[in-house]
Amino acid sequence: MDNQIKELRKSKKLSQEALANACNVSRQTINAIENNKYDPSLELAFQLAGNLNVSVDELFLYKNRGNL
């Protein structure tokens, strides 16, 4: 799942640490999400979107591999 966290975070001049503190997670978790190594839970996705002032579907882009 692709996401825009890094771009939006940088545009708001937030550090990974600051965003992590705002979402009550560790900096490593934010780093893993930004690098597409970890997909966050729905709750964390909403928290991230809220803290970056965007909606969840703007923040995350689901790559549908489809069955057809």
Partner: protein
């Protein structure tokens, strides 16, 4: 804050590694002198290895361990450990039969019981966990 955590991490790693080195040196010397390693010695080695692995994985920042990614890592590791442990028990049970030439059907009873328990415990726990979502 971060610097303190890093400093604590480095110091504890140095102390632990020194303890481990000292301990292993004593054990090797004892082994060379013909002194056998006792239960306490083995437990000490296991404890040092466990602590070092925990420290290498999580460091001192408890938040990483407690947040959702940390919990996912722990859950995934627990599942893999369970599979490795079950296979390990099976291998040990077979080796025990071969090495000690067991005459009875079950081989080492305690090992066999542990293997059966390991095999049966997962579906039972899974059954009760699945009931929560019905």
């Amino acid at each position: 804050m971060m610097k303190n955590v890093k400093n604590n991490y480095v110091w504890t790693a140095i102390i632990l590694l020194s303890c481990a080195f000292a301990m292993y040196t004593i054990y090797i010397t004892d082994f060379k002198d013909g002194v056998r390693l006792g239960v306490t010695g083995v437990i000490a080695i296991v404890l040092v290895i466990t602590t070092l692995c925990q420290l290498a994985t999580w460091g001192f920042d408890r938040q990483i361990q407690k947040d959702e990614m940390g919990k996912k890592i722990a859950t995934m590791s627990a599942k893999r450990s369970y599979h490795i442990l079950t296979i390990g028990l099976f291998v040990l049970w077979i080796l025990d039969r071969i090495i000690f030439v067991r005459k009875n059907d079950f081989g080492n009873i305690s090992l066999f019981a542990a293997l059966c328990l390991a095999l049966v415990i997962f579906p039972i726990v899974q059954f009760f966990s699945a009931r929560r979502y019905r």
